[in-house]
Symmetry: C2
Subunit: 153 residues, 2 copies
């Protein structure tokens, strides 16, 4: 599905955090929470200046994507009322770049969404770009609408 | 690290939702939000009665785990104050069962954590069990403690 419902697109634009799963080519997955921005067609995530376990290009997410571009970015809402649960899975192909035509736009989009990025030199950091291949949007089956008595008036 | 810090264990016990990444043996990852319970050594998640895209055993997460047991369960907290971010990654091996010695205990633990499960027949549903192999606990580097002036008194 590449024409996801409006609520799913809204969720991809607005969600403050997503979960990025990538995998070695041998199928060993890694799953990290990420900040990201969605321009309506691609998803961008900076290997930003938040403290990391390794240098930017030595990070597991980067080495995984370099050997295997398949990723799954998940954006969801949890609620104790399980009828309100929802998730969006973006199954796609990722790459890691430090330059490119879209690079300045992507950085600007990330800064617009996260004011925290105004004090980070994202221009100097690698950027993950995800090209969606399939988008899966899930909500529990719609329960029948409760008809208010006055609608029978 | 199999002796994670106390905050990470607490997070694994208390978190209402986690994100489970699994992968085909060819490295195509899937990442789904799940409800789960942690008994201090293993993690349990029921293929419960929330509406799904397929029958329990036909679900992608189940077929992935059957062909490749490597998984990564991620539990995290997002905050706009990025000094308060944290995540715990459980890298482990998963299996899917409909019976077994631990099965009733796992179901009881899930029901204790989620009252929503009291009205679901979890006994009839497959259960994912994750055996952690490595646990990675991450918080930003501790920033120096702000010393209040009166401490100089």
């Amino acid at each position: 599905m590449l024409n996801p419902p409006a609520w799913a697109l809204h969720s991809l634009v607005k969600a403050r955090v997503g979960h990025l799963a990538c995998s070695t080519k041998y199928g060993i997955p890694l799953n990290v929470p990420i900040c990201f921005a969605f321009d309506g067609s691609r998803i961008y995530s900076s290997i930003d200046e938040k403290p990391k376990k390794a240098a930017p290009l030595a990070l597991r997410r980067v080495s995984n994507i370099k050997e295997n571009s398949n990723v799954c970015l998940t954006v969801d809402k949890y609620s104790e009322d399980w009828r309100k649960l929802q998730y969006v899975l973006v199954l796609g192909r990722a790459k890691v770049n430090q330059q490119g035509k879209k690079f300045p736009e992507a950085i600007a989009l990330l800064r617009k969404k996260y004011r925290q990025y105004n004090s980070m030199k994202l221009e100097m950091r690698p950027l993950i770009t995800i090209q969606p291949v399939r988008i899966v949007a899930w909500k529990p089956l719609t329960t029948p609408r409760t008809v208010k008595p006055k609608e029978y008036d």
